[in-house]
Amino acid sequence: MMTMLLALALLWPLVVIGWTLWSAYRAPAAYQSYFSALWLSAAWPALLLAYGGEAQWTMDAWMLGGEWALNSLSRPWLAFTALLWGVAAIHARGYFAAEQAKAQKGDQDTQRRLLRLALLWPLTLLGNVLLIIAQDIASFYLGFALMTFAAYALVVHSGTVEARLGAKAYLMLAVVGEGLIIGGFLWAAGEADTLTLQGLREGILVAEQGAWMAALLCLGFGVKAGVIGLHVWLPLAHPVAPAPASAVLSGAMIKAGLLGWISVLPLGDEQVSVSLAQFGNIMLMAGLAAAFGAALYGVFQRHPKAVLAYSSISQMGMMTSLVAMGLVAPDVWPLLWPGLVLFAAHHALAKGSLFMGTSISEHLPRWPLPLVWALLALPGISLAGAIGAGMISKWGVKSPLYEMHHESLIKLLSWAAVGTAALVSVALWRQWQQRHKGGSNREQWGAWLVAIAAALLTPFWLPLPAGSIEMPPFKEWLGIIWPFPVGVLFAALGWLLTRPLKGKSLPAGDLWWLYAGMFGAALVPIRLFGHYCAELKAASVASAQKTEEMLMGDLTRLLSTESWLRHHASGLMMLLAVLLAALMMWEGQR
């Protein structure tokens, strides 16, 4: 039964692609519906699978040996990923309704873009599902690569100059990331002689150079997870991608990087070597730096989606530092990981609904504005930890840290939550400034409302191990809630203080511009060297040809000597005979 469900979950997106292709081929453009009911259902079998219970599969014929499993980690992960994909698909149908109408009127460019999106969306989903259930390296890498490259179409969808820049940044960093990942995989798997992620974790644990392997893999996955320094694609790609694509990008796909870390790092193992623990410390620092730095930079953004992208970087920074705790303080990990999964799931849905909310504020439904903004704010407040699932997930990571006495980290995380609150308020303010009336339809706000509800109720539907998550006791509430009002206050203060700047803001993508400049500068000497090489080659070809010509000239002269000989053959023969005769006579006389 579970095997049937698994096959369905993996094959269904392909069926959807096939059907979409077939109907695009058959139906006339005027009746073409790119987002049919079947298309919406692409993620549903995967969602069913997540609730089907634990299971394991091995397939020897599959690549290097397939090993897939649904366990206590991959089940909740699959659940929130598939749910978000399903909700975002419904939202997409509403979001693209106007574009579809344009395509049906015969706009070829729109037809092409919509078809591309409709085909690559299920493919991206397929990669995401596969990487979650994969327990062997090859399947995991396949899922990851499929998701990464297929998602290009999601980012570049609108085809504007900004979209192309965002997609370019996304793709370039993705290629760098893939390189780092495959390097790390080869190194670690080669040392440990293994093909599974389980073996990889054990290999990294015992290997002499384990910390370096971990570093390679962490940086590779860090491109997706937006680790500081490699995060530059997020604020460039998110504002330009369509809202539902941003939702899955920020909700589900960057979580794949996080899952990658959890899958390859020997977290929570008591025998962690000193160098690995050291690496964990560095990772902790990087995570906190991202959490604070992104908040500080993000509040100055103009585009609400850029603000939200920085919020994602900040949140992922917090998760990074929590993952790092699995290396720094292994004893805390068994208690911490359910909280981390809840954190990730809640962030996925909350960020998903925030991104979907940007499309609502751009196409306001005819509802009272205070109601709309209250709804828009809900997932944000929850994200800052002041209500609903946000509170529970904050407590889910705080209580194990309390138990193991990591108060300083708790304090830092609380201050990072202040940053989250500030970012969310700035995002809402920017949405208010850039609001537009009209045009949002039922699917659009329906999916948005479902996502908000799912975000607020995350602990109730997420299939985590029983008893791993509990409500925070009442006396702790203040300790969890305080960052939110403080954050809002900070945002208001900041707005007052920066008013003299008259709305000048920092460019999205911060370090990207630095990198671009550096590469441009580095290319100059390379180009010069290239020119020099080309000249050198031309010169050597010329000199070789000259030498050849000279040699050929010599040869020709030699040949002409021969022809002179041939010409005078009889005379020369005569001369030779005379000489010989003279020689013999001289011999005879002696």
């Binding site: 599959w62 690549m63 495959i182 390097g183 080669g190």
Partner: protein, 501 residues
């Protein structure tokens, strides 16, 4: 039980076809096509028989003495059958493709005659059991490809043919010198002999190294290792099916296969390591990989870019040998097949673009995905395979090479592999991007350089089918690498034979 007829018939089918094709008049198009295709199918059946017999542990030998001490021997062993399988499979595909490609052009008799001769030579190379036999077919290959390279008869083609002959013939002389030296030292040395050349190590160390250098140096020209690669990008003027055959199985692969034979079967891997030539080979291969990729980025036309990609990719095979270990060997052998399948797909695609739309330059490819979806999907599969992304076959080889490098403690090789993958991405992804994400003539912007409507589908179906087939096989070889008789499985079988006698 020795079925001596088996290797001989496998060779004879192609050779016989050559004679028949040359005997038939130019106009007998239908008969020629029928005979050609039938022979290709018969050969696949024969090679399948050989595969089954080798898998069951039989090695069929056919031999006769030429003069004292020099024998002509054909033998079907695991490694040879592997190459023969690739050659016969791709013969069928490229022949079908060539029939579609050359429809209505002149000199088809000459073309198909030499084409079959070329394939017959690769079968001979695959089944040759000693250096003498190998050399005969190797030189036959050189001479039979020349008319194919210059088939168009343009000045550019003739120039390229001259460069090709200069390179390969001088390499042949070097190879011959090495062979003669070896025969004078050891007499007839079968590829299947167990003892190898280990006995001569103590007394003739320098001479053995010299022989190795001569043999591998001669073979490296066809393998297109830098700096002996100059002929390959120029030979791009040949018609697409010739390029496909040249890059996937015939010339370039014959060189790589020869190096495999020399290292594994003639010298033996232990002796090669003892001589210290293996590491040199790995370094040369790595240099070629990076250099080829860098040059590929600089190309503005499709076929030269693919040619430099071949320069880079074929050296993966040599790199695998250089890793000295079971994983490296499996990677090398599997890549011999995988690269063949992927590269033949890419060249078929390039040919299709050129035939149907007149596209030669990369910047003309904008939006071709809409006009030729199947071709573009096949190209995408091939490109992703070359980058080494799963699930295409290229990933499997990269995995084995990388793991082999780690186990041989040659960590820099992993860096080379990663750099090469990134460079591959840098020159293939822009093309894929152009195909699918840019709008071009198919969307009403400008026009194709020279559009023809060759068939009911996106192009002539004889051009389409082989390409779809090879693309599917390259995908399947990666996705189901664990199946018995997959390229990976067979490569592992050969490697086991080398390392676990």
């Amino acid at each position: 039980m020795n079925a001596a007829w088996l290797p001989l018939t496998a060779l004879a089918t192609s050779l016989l076809v050559v004679v028949v094709i040359f005997a038939l008049p130019e106009e007998a198009r239908r008969l020629r096509t029928t005979i050609n295709l039938m022979a290709a199918v018969v050969k696949i059946i024969l090679v399948t028989l050989m595969v089954r017999r080798v898998a069951a542990g039989h090695e069929d030998i056919f031999s006769f003495q030429v003069i004292g001490g020099v024998d002509f021997v054909l033998r079907s062993d695991a490694l040879g059958v592997m190459f023969a399988g690739l050659s016969s499979l791709l013969w069928l595909c490229t022949t079908i493709y060539a029939i579609g490609y050359l429809e209505g052009s002149a000199n088809r008799k000459r073309f198909f005659g030499f084409f079959s001769l070329c394939v017959a030579s690769t079968i001979g190379i695959a089944l040759a059991d000693n250096l003498f036999t190998f050399l005969i077919f190797y030189e036959m290959l050189t001479l039979s490809t020349y008319p194919l390279v210059v088939h168009n008869g343009t000045q550019q083609a003739l120039d390229a043919g001259r460069v090709y002959l200069r390179y390969t013939l001088s390499a042949g002389v070097v190879l011959l010198l090495g062979t003669v030296l070896l025969y004078s030292l050891t007499g007839d040395q079968s590829f299947s002999s167990e003892e190898g050349l280990g006995d001569y190590l103590n007394d003739h160390r320098g001479l053995l190294t010299l022989i190795f250098a001569l043999l591998v140096g001669g073979l490296a020209v066809k393998t297109a290792m830098v700096p002996l690669h100059g002929w390959l990008p120029r030979a791009m003027v040949a018609p697409a099916p010739v390029s496909a055959l040249l890059h996937a199985v015939a010339v370039v692969k014959a060189g790589a296969f020869g190096i495999l034979r020399v290292v594994y079967d003639l010298f033996g891997i232990e002796l090669s390591v003892e001589l210290g030539v293996i590491t040199a080979l790995a370094v040369a291969a790595s240099f070629t990989i990076i250099y080829g990729s860098l040059r590929a980025i600089a190309q503005e036309e499709l076929k030269p870019r693919l040619a430099y990609s071949t320069v880079s990719q074929v050296s993966y095979v040599i790199l695998g040998i250089g890793l000295f270990g079971p994983f490296g060997t499996v990677g090398a052998l599997a890549h011999l097949l995988h690269q063949g399948l992927m590269k033949v797909t890419l060249f078929f695609c390039a040919g299709n673009y050129a035939e149907e739309l007149g596209i030669h330059r990369i910047d003309e490819m904008d939006g071709a995905g809409k006009r030729m979806p199947l071709t573009s999907i096949a190209f995408t599969i091939g490109a992703f395979g070359m980058i080494g992304l799963p699930p295409v076959a290229g990933f499997i080889t990269k995995w084995y090479l990388g793991v082999g490098a780690i186990q041989a403690e040659m960590y820099w090789v992993v860096a080379v592999l990663v750099a090469s993958s990134t460079l591959n991405a840098m020159y293939f992804l822009p093309i894929v991007h152009r195909l699918w994400f840019r709008s071009g003539p198919a969307h009403g912007k400008g026009s194709w350089p020279k559009e023809q409507r060759l068939g009911r589908f996106e192009t002539h179906s004889w051009l389409l089918l082989p390409m779809v087939f090879t693309a599917l096989v390259s995908l399947g070889a990666g996705l189901f690498a664990g199946l018995p008789f997959s390229p990976l499985d067979w490569a592992a079988r050969v490697a086991n034979g080398e390392y676990l006698p």
